[in-house]
Symmetry: C2
Amino acid sequence: MTQAARGPRLAFGGIEDVAAAVRARGGRFSTSLRLVLEALFAADGPVSAEYIAGGSDGRGPVLDPTSVYRNLERLEQLGVVRHVHLGHGAGRYALATSELEYLACERCDAVIGVDAARLDPLRDEIRAAFGFEAHFGHFPIVGLCARCAAAADA
Amino acid sequence: MTQAARGPRLAFGGIEDVAAAVRARGGRFSTSLRLVLEALFAADGPVSAEYIAGGSDGRGPVLDPTSVYRNLERLEQLGVVRHVHLGHGAGRYALATSELEYLACERCDAVIGVDAARLDPLRDEIRAAFGFEAHFGHFPIVGLCARCAAAADA
DNA sequence: GTCGATGCAAACGTTTTGCACACTG
DNA sequence: CAGTGTGCAAAACGTTTGCATCGAC
């Protein structure tokens, strides 16, 4: 049930699978969409729309942020992409194919991906104590990573 | 230790106490500051800067948002105010005199205040599992309240 | 009278919306 | 060639900053 709440397991192994799904919905597989997907597949962790647009690092010919947002929204409706809010700053987007949730360090901006199943005990505890269904997928747990916590103790 | 990490217990029982603390720091107790404090003392739960400015509900002669933000920042440095991010939308501000942390429902916008101590077991569990020091005070737990979770099951 | 605080205006970073043009299927 | 997706411009939103004026002490 906790498993089911996370949504169906996805079957997108690569960009062409997504292209097929987009076309199946009557959508078109544009160059911009391909670039967005390439950025997401290449990234190791959630990235910002600005990053995808190519504003940061020297990767390729910048595409319009508007287009990035629109494509991300489409992909999110398809279940291909998820977005998370890692503390302050811009939202971050990642492929929904991984069952990762995140711990975000508010000091060093480290993002620690943890298997969603490992947070199930927490969810159960919160449900038992407060009748509240915690969703760490969209608004993750924020705090201090081990390194920064140790530094703060000193 | 978990307790100590939360900062010193505050001794602000009312607006005049804050006024004294402000003056002790060389600050001035302006009319705007008084209005901000009145809104915070009257509120039952974290409120937005816009709300404090008087934009919502017919309460009184609107004060400038700029001034609200500046006063909130001053009060935060004094330890009188804390701000939290309850899901999407504007930040919310509350008196730091209560040891409350929050569970925010992402569907109905309900804000459930829980005694910070009741989240200590969760913090301990996260620390044990990931070496991560979770701070629910600033970025609370987001999900579905009991009512909305039940509705979502149906 | 001093200096901190105010209001206004303008800028900021992120995201959304309107519109005419371009490209996919 | 139909109509989806694009870039550009502009706006929306919450928040910050600059600056001249006001007001607390």
